[in-house]
């Protein structure tokens, strides 16, 4: 079993600040990622822009509020809206995070960490299956940056993520920056993480910048991708081959040109890594 998705090339996040540049200069990224919740609207400019973009490029829908790991029932109204959005815009895939973000009727609007236990694994697998049933499609689940580890976790994060993907038969969105940030914060080997992710499950890769706060790294999406993360990206390409890759930039957002340049840098790193792999096997 695996996830079967197309290779889309190198994309960027669709952010309102870049709407004018994207619409004026043509759609110069290979594909665009839209934050699902930002388009669950009744009307107005964002939906208009998404329609224009979708007419010319593939898009994917990336959610932040599915709250896969929460222990309250899934939000049925949210799932209905997400399905309607997916039916309207036909994304290449729909993704959200391996985390929880709501408790009771309240939303934290954050990607909160799970303990990596058998109890949490059984729970998340069941939730992914429910979501896939509701949406009528496989979903893609992303690893998050985390700042705490729990005393009662019984397996490493990569083992938990791989087990969720295998048991629920979903895809993986491998956020290479999040792997690096969590590796530094918790003292594990980032390369070991990549080795624990099965081939054939990774539908997409995220790259982003983070901030070094001295005592910990923070996943801020407000910097260029750091050199250490570029190195880890090359390792990921060497292991997983060509995977649709997207650079996230959500704060202190640069001009669209700079974001595109970062995306092109990812394309160059991918091309170079794959050429080396071919040379080694020739």
């Amino acid at each position: 079993m695996a996830i079967s998705v197309p290779y889309l090339g190198h994309g960027v996040g669709l952010r309102p600040r870049h709407y004018p540049a994207i619409l004026a200069d043509g759609l110069r990224a290979d594909w665009f990622e839209a934050i699902s919740e930002n388009y669950m609207l009744r009307g107005g400019r964002p939906l208009h822009v998404l329609e224009r973009v979708r007419a010319e490029r593939p898009i994917v829908l990336h959610g932040v509020s599915l709250s896969l790991g929460a222990t309250d029932p899934l939000n049925a109204a949210y799932l209905t809206e997400l399905r309607a959005l997916a039916d309207r815009f036909a994304p290449a895939w729909v993704s959200d995070h391996l985390c929880w973000g709501s408790y009771g009727k309240h939303y934290a609007h954050d990607l909160l960490p799970l303990p990596y236990t058998d109890e949490a694994l059984d729970h998340v697998v069941g939730r992914v299956e429910q979501v896939q049933d509701a949406l009528g499609r496989q979903i893609v689940v992303e690893n998050v940056s985390s700042y705490v580890e729990f005393t009662h976790s019984t397996m490493p994060e990569w083992e938990f993520l791989a087990a969720v993907a295998a048991r629920a038969d979903c895809g993986i969105l491998l956020d290479v920056n999040n792997v690096y940030v969590s590796a530094m914060n918790h003292g594990f080997d980032a390369e070991r993480y990549l080795a624990g992710i099965p081939l054939g499950r990774v539908a997409q890769i995220h790259l982003a910048g983070h901030t070094d706060n001295g005592t910990h790294l923070l996943d801020t999406h407000d910097h260029p991708v750091r050199d250490e993360v570029w190195d880890l990206y090359r390792s990921a390409v060497a292991r997983f081959g060509r995977v649709s890759t997207l650079v996230e930039w959500d704060d202190r957002i640069p001009p669209f040109e700079d974001l595109l340049a970062e995306s092109e840098r990812a394309r160059a790193a991918e091309t170079e890594t794959l050429a080396h792999a071919v040379a080694r096997t020739a």
Partner: protein, 256 residues
């Protein structure tokens, strides 16, 4: 090693975020690092929770933020304790802020602040209201003169009308200046994906109120006639209609 059931862990984590105080149940199951104790690690999440939502409120209420300066943070902290988010989209987070401001200490010396927040909330709501194609002036050329009195106008959905005891449009333009009380009626609308607001004088406010009530254009003229000489009322009402069409407010015109 201490353990917590998933549900209990999430309850404890949420309490820590909402109260801003690390719950002992949570810190008891968080591992320390060489440089961070469990409570300091939880504090990373507490800081991210507050500042992310503070930023959402600041983006939705930029003028309220400008009027309050540093006191906005106090308002945001108190608001998030009273009204934590109940919706998957942050778009709804600040929906209750105008009513909350009305009874908050920051409004004691700024009696106009809740009205300013109401204007900002209306602008947020109009931003993503349903779409409609506005009528053009040429669409009305076919209406015969004798039919005008029975003509009913339908307005776009991306529209709100706000009566206020304060000139909040002037406060919006200069949030750090103290206004003098003066009743105004504002219309807030979206045209070509841009949100606008404008004050209406008493004639326009009454005429627009008749349109919103679904009254025929003859009643709109009567509303105008309450303010001007009756022979000039139709021309005045016609001029208002031209302005509304130019502003993209009218979506339909028909005899039913």
């Amino acid at each position: 090693m201490p353990s917590l059931a998933l549900r209990d862990l999430q309850a404890s984590f949420w309490r820590s975020l909402h109260s801003g105080t690390a719950d002992p149940g949570l810190t008891g199951v968080v591992l320390p690092t060489p440089s961070l104790e469990p409570a300091a690690r939880v504090d990373i999440y507490q800081g991210m929770y507050f500042w992310r939502l503070h930023e959402v409120l600041r983006e939705d209420y930029p003028k309220t933020h400008e009027a309050l300066g540093g006191e906005f943070e106090t308002l945001a902290r108190d608001y998030l304790v009273a009204h934590p988010s109940e919706h998957p989209s942050v778009r709804h987070l600040g929906a209750r802020l105008p009513d909350f401001v009305e009874n908050h200490a920051v409004a004691r010396t700024r009696p106009w602040l809740a009205e300013l927040a109401r204007l900002e909330r209306a602008r947020v709501d109009v931003f993503d209201a349903p779409d409609a194609t506005p009528l053009a002036a040429t669409d009305l050329r076919a209406v015969p003169p004798e039919a005008w009195a029975d003509l009913r106008l339908g307005l776009i959905p991306a529209l709100d009308v706000l009566p206020s005891a304060w000139p909040v449009h002037e406060v919006w333009a200069a949030p750090t200046e103290q206004p003098a009380p003066r009743p105004v009626v504002l219309r807030v609308w979206r045209h070509d994906f841009v949100v606008f607001h404008a004050a209406m004088d008493a004639i326009e406010a009454d005429a627009f109120s008749a349109v919103r009530a679904g009254s025929p254009f003859g009643d709109v003229c009567e509303a105008v006639a309450a303010h001007v000489a009756s022979e000039t009322a139709p021309a005045e009402a016609g001029a208002l209609l031209v302005r509304w069409i130019e502003d993209g407010l009218v979506a339909r015109a028909g005899l039913t």
